[in-house]
């Protein structure tokens, strides 16, 4: 692609800004969505005073976080205590930079993908970054020198490391089918329809099991119900971020939701056919629609998240481990075997 370094930098900066804004907004309104949904599930109203339908609630929360006193308890291991939330948030935000949310677009004579960068091993890098995400939680739990936090951190690290395996294996099936690690190629593989009406999404092409495994593993990776033991209120006050307050806590909070969005986008890209969907209308609409479809699918996934949170109880820790190792892991392996067998036979 013939573009000079300067334009490259400029475009990258623009894209980064846009991505950050969009992502943070999404995070904020995911929280609003969660409270609202859970409220309705629990037969409440949820936030409704700040703005219409409490739409301004996230801003209020943000302000509140900012104005709260940032107190650092004694006997904490300062450097890590401070570094931990930053680390988690940074990693959470970084991983989104590799997620393509639409086709290439032509803006002012510059032809560029709608994502910060297009790497041909994007998926691997995303996995790597998410795997680094453990440190934030573990260090937070350890450095804040409190038994609740420590237990939470321990649980979190063990749980995330264990489920990371199932997660990765569940993706392998898709990778085998698409034969690439480039998210864009994977998505392009899923364009079109089978028998004229079923979209050729991986989930419809036999990866349903993998999708289920991915779902469960993703819940665990993001410490969401029913795998939210690291921050199990009823057992260890608030888990690894018991000792955190104000902005640091907010960072963890945002990191968690950002991770949710990342995971949702990956699920969309790998299983739900990415931005593919019915295209119609004029050219501008043609450019917008894919992004819309993408956003819609991500929204649906997040909706599922919240729904599950509102309805399912929490695991016991040994159950969690047993589930991960004795059920999900073999299931993912079996899926990989079957898929590779089918692919090999089709060749």
């Amino acid at each position: 692609m013939g573009l000079t370094v300067t334009t490259f930098v400029v475009i990258s900066v623009i894209k980064i800004v846009i991505a950050l804004v969009v992502l943070l907004t999404a995070v904020a309104y995911t929280t609003w969505l969660e409270r609202k949904l859970v409220g309705h599930i629990q037969n409440r109203w949820g936030p409704k005073r700040v703005g219409p339908f409490g739409l301004l609630q996230p801003l209020a929360d943000g302000l509140k976080f900012i104005f709260k006193e940032d107190l650092t308890p004694p006997h904490v291991y300062k450097p890590l205590y401070i570094a931990a939330p930053i680390l988690s948030l940074a990693l959470a935000l970084t991983s989104i930079s590799l997620v393509p949310i639409g086709n290439w677009v032509e803006v002012g004579g510059v032809y560029t993908p709608i994502e910060i960068t297009d790497v041909n091993i994007g998926l691997l890098i995303i996995l790597g970054i998410t795997s680094l995400g453990v440190y934030g939680i573990a260090l937070a739990g350890w450095s804040s020198n409190s038994k609740y936090s420590l237990l939470g951190g321990l649980r979190a690290s063990a749980q995330m490391v264990s489920y990371e395996i199932a997660l990765g294996l569940s993706l392998v099936g898709v990778l085998i089918m698409s034969g690439s690690l480039n998210l864009r190629e994977i998505v392009d593989m899923q364009g079109g329809h089978m028998w004229a009406w079923i979209p050729r999404w991986n989930i419809f092409r036999g990866q349903i099991v993998a999708f289920f495994v991915y779902l469960a593993a993703a819940f665990a990776e993001t410490n969401r119900v029913p795998f939210d033991l690291p921050e199990a209120e009823s057992e260890l006050v608030a888990g690894y971020h018991t000792e955190y307050s104000s902005m640091k806590f907010a960072m963890f909070f945002m990191a968690e939701y950002a991770n949710m969005i990342t995971v949702a986008s990956i699920a969309t890209l790998l299983f739900l056919g990415g931005w593919h969907g019915p295209l119609f209308g004029p050219w501008w609409l043609q450019n917008i629609l894919p992004v819309f479809w993408f956003a819609l699918k991500v929204f649906g996934f997040i909706f599922l998240y919240i729904w599950v949170r509102g309805t399912l109880p929490r695991f016991r820790y040994d159950q969690l481990m047993a589930f991960g190792w004795k059920f999900l892991f073999p299931l993912a392996v079996a899926n990989v075997l079957v898929t590779s067998l089918i692919v090999a036979l089709q060749k």
Binding site: Y77, L80, V119, N120, I121, L124, I125, L127, G128, I129, S131, L132, V134, Y135, A138, L139, G141, W142, L150, G153, L154, S157, A158, M160, V161, E164, G168, G179, L181, P226, L312, D318, Q319, M321, A322, F323, K326, F327
Partner: protein
């Protein structure tokens, strides 16, 4: 040019982090600095076109092995290491040996590398997953399988070693009632 800059940036980071690993007296700091070393080494891999390895380096080393280290440190709640008199052998024999080693290696590599190859961005020599996979699953299939067996053995050994006496029987251990498979 950019190459050189990146190399020196990440090289310096790596060395600095390694030194920090030695300097720090708390294991967790050492662990974190080691993570940094690994990350920068991964970057160097990328510079040399080993993108797959770079990703694996991050995932496996930084994401799994070092997490294990941190986990163990937290589990054993290892505090600052106490100053105890080391061994004379290590001081009087080891350090000169190390210096000699590094010196010799550096000298040899710098002065008499008969094939002065250079690393450029444009050089399209890429360890893509496909190429590596073909090597692993075709030419190096047997070693690959053997390593899988090795891993299995290692897992079992770790379980037996780490679990307190009498609980190595897995399912029926007292504090772990067998897990339900529902939901």
């Amino acid at each position: 040019m950019l190459q050189l800059v990146l190399f020196f940036v990440f090289g310096t980071i790596a060395v600095a982090a390694a030194v920090n690993l030695l300097a720090q007296r708390h294991p967790i700091n050492s662990a974190l600095s080691l993570v940094v070393v690994m990350a920068s080494v991964a970057m160097l891999f990328l510079l040399m076109g080993a993108e797959f390895l770079a990703a694996i380096q991050v995932i496996v080393y930084a994401g799994a092995i070092m997490v294990l280290f941190v986990f163990v440190i937290m589990l054993l709640n290892a505090g600052e290491e106490e100053r105890t008199a080391g061994s004379r052998v290590a001081k009087r024999l080891g350090f000169p040996a190390v210096v000699l080693l590094a010196g010799l290696l550096a000298w040899t590599l710098l002065t008499r590398n008969q094939h002065p190859a250079t690393v450029e961005l444009s050089g399209r020599f890429v360890g893509s997953p496909v190429a590596i996979a073909q090597l692993i699953f075709r030419d190096f299939l047997l070693p690959f399988e053997v390593t899988s067996v090795l891993i299995l053995v290692a897992i079992m050994g770790a379980v037996v070693l780490a679990s307190p006496a009498g609980t190595t029987t897995g399912r029926g251990s007292p504090e772990q009632p067998p897990a339900k498979r529902e939901e």
